[in-house]
Symmetry: C2
Subunit: 428 residues, 2 copies
């Protein structure tokens, strides 16, 4: 399958470059980018194209990388809100999750995928139950995913982590798996040491919820005399890198460890606001040389899976936290979303629009009123953008969402009907 | 013109009621609501309908009231960002505004109206230059507006305020005008006293930016030994009520004055974040019995005119400020947007969907993935809703936006072309 996109504006983020180019064309073959060049160049003449699409001067970007989510928690959206994190987890989330089957998770992951595609998200970094059924949902629909384990004292095991590491990660597959665990506060020290040993055996990075709430940090210090970052590092967890979701409540010494271990800080501003967890120190992380990526977190705590909202929040909450309107300019946030996120979730081949990279990209409608006038496209997107600017979302060279219609092998109505049946069983 | 909407879900907010009803129909004649009743009732048989529309089980709400904006500042969107409020105003906004003509403001107001309609906004509370050309833009497109004066030491006058009070405010018109001024810090004491005298002469409420930044409050106290709220009250400004835009930095004694004078607090969370002004004490205002409405502020400081974002921010910033995930539940915010806002902007006849009220209403698409599942519609809208849920926006019985298309007497492309010409003149 060969697709040519032409008459496009483009921010490619190739080698991190944020320059806006006009009148560009992109050649795509079998899910990979063949070339990127000006409309007037003749590179395209060498190929026979299955599809040629006029982008009408609209903007192509690498798709957004949603670096932290629990997709199937769509089943709990608007079911339990307005509760603090620990109460929400223990009284509502865990009991309801106990009733979920692998097939349920397959359905509710697909429900989330609809929303990801509408929002221009081309890759998700997932932590949830039954990775096999999540992988199936992603392969069936065409969504790119990196999964991590959610091991804790009550579910999943280190043996399973090892199985999943071997089962997934085939070259060229849409699905990857990296070791991970839920959080320090839901895992015994022995369990964490086993996970650390596994990661070191396979030389793989490790991911977990880290320092999300003040309570978590306080209790970890009571238990081990160290912050979660310092404690996890002390047992060798991060010898091969990895990352922490949330990282809201960091202490001064944490930054040095995070930088030395090449960890990614994955910020989740929507969830942190809604659960009143706090505002992450994003500008300080960046100033310390730590790469920051962005995630929506799951739809039970956000509740939307809307990357425009998440980018906006990342920027403006930094301004509020720092009491500085100049903090975290828009283009820096857009780069986190399109480029840095790919590295955080271990898919560097999707970090930009350049020859040889994965064709994971989106077309944004600049003819909507919220993109006018066009003094600055990056600011327009981060400060004014919305899902209704997404014309199409392409993953691995396939357009899965186009002008409101999904091409994912199932209709949205079929997904809703299946979801409703499951919810009746769980909640009635 | 008679329109019947049927097979609708409805939250009418009649008498402030937030109950969700299903299978409802609404009869509309010449811009007013004739009746609201169940689909199975026979009230509709008595009329001949020009249009009957199946709402397919989707949700009708009173439209959102955007209670603070400077619409024509679309001309500055993404032109000057990432600057603190006072620097932004003095170095960028004021010099560029000096070049604006009444005709320019007419064009850029229309650009904003496109975005309002896409976002389900059916009424705007405007403060800007050249009210005549703003009123013209609203009458031509069909937008409902309440304007207030932006008098200050450098532009507009008390004489003009009086003219505008007389010129606008015809019964049944889309356009209203109430006295107002820019802010304490841009007006001399003498000027403020004249405005107060005028408002008392006409027995009208007064509106202004009040206590937006800590700097403003500090300097007012240095000047007058009182907070802006106390000082303005001391010169009789609020004898007939009114309201304050922003109200971020209130002191303990301010609340009593605000309540006693029946003032509305109009919160602008997007703008307050982006300019790093702070987070308004919304839950405290409500606990003190003060009604709170919501506004986007202008597109130069927000930068979007997106009421879904503004509702979401109103709720989650309250949770962050109070460190309480239970703060400001979703339905309370939806009521501010649909109902309270109408009172804040002096259009109580648009506060709900009930016989005799203005037909200012929106239809929201519940079949989008972000509205699924439907555990709680109010939470879905406030926490997950977006502009792509707006099917249509009706003002005064006319559908001005319907499934992506505008019916406002001008195309969006014509507005963009005109805007571009003006920007060349101003900035090139």
């Amino acid at each position: 399958m060969r697709i040519r996109l032409f008459h496009a504006r483009l921010i490619s983020f190739a080698d991190g470059n944020t320059e806006l180019k006009e009148n560009m064309q992109i050649g795509i073959e079998d899910g990979k980018i063949l070339f990127v060049c000006g409309d007037e160049e003749k590179k395209s003449d060498a190929y026979a194209w299955d599809v040629e699409r006029d982008c009408e001067g609209n903007l192509i970007l690498p798709g957004f990388k949603n670096c932290h989510t629990h997709s199937a928690m769509t089943f709990l959206r608007s079911k339990a809100d307005d509760l603090p994190l620990h109460e929400w987890l223990n009284d509502t989330v865990f009991p309801a999750e106990a009733k979920l089957t692998a097939k349920d998770i397959h359905t509710f992951t697909k429900l989330a995928i609809l929303e990801y595609l509408q929002s221009g998200i081309t890759g998700i970094f997932e932590m949830y139950l039954t990775p096999e059924s999540i992988a199936k949902a992603c392969r069936e629909t065409g969504m790119r995913i990196t999964m991590t384990g959610g091991v804790n004292n009550f579910s999943q095991s280190v043996k399973q982590l090892e199985q999943w590491i071997k089962e997934f990660n085939a070259p060229g597959d849409l699905v990857k798996f990296v070791p991970g665990f839920h959080a320090e506060y839901t895992c015994s020290k022995g369990l964490l040491e086993e996970i650390s040993a596994l990661a070191n055996q396979y030389k793989m990075p490790v991911y977990a919820h880290i320092s999300e709430t003040a309570k978590e940090v306080k209790e970890c210090k009571e238990r081990y005399g160290m912050t979660p970052v310092a404690f996890l590092d002390s047992i060798g967890m991060f010898a091969n890198g990895g990352g922490g979701y949330h990282m809201v409540h960091l202490e001064e010494d944490d930054y040095e460890i995070i930088r030395q271990r090449d960890l990614y800080a994955i910020t989740n501003p929507g969830s942190n606001c809604k659960l009143a967890s706090g505002i992450a120190p994003v500008t300080k992380l960046l100033a310390e040389g730590i790469p920051v990526a962005i995630g929506t977190d799951g739809p039970a705590s956000n509740n939307a899976l809307d990357f425009f909202r998440e980018m906006y929040l990342t920027s403006v909450l930094a301004k509020i936290r720092d009491e500085d309107a100049a903090a975290l300019p828009a283009m820096e946030v857009l780069k986190m979303a399109c480029h840095t996120g790919a590295h955080a979730m271990c898919i560097p081949e999707s970090d930009s629009i350049d020859a040889g990279k994965n064709a994971d990209l989106i077309l944004l409608d600049l003819s909507q009123p919220n993109m006018q006038p066009m003094h600055n496209i990056g600011k327009n997107i981060v400060y004014s953008g919305s899902k209704n600017n997404v014309i199409f979302t392409m993953i691995n060279g396939r357009i899965l969402y186009d002008k409101g219609e999904f091409s994912i092998g199932v209709t949205k109505e079929e997904i809703y009907a299946e979801a409703e049946k499951i919810l009746k069983r769980i909640f009635d």
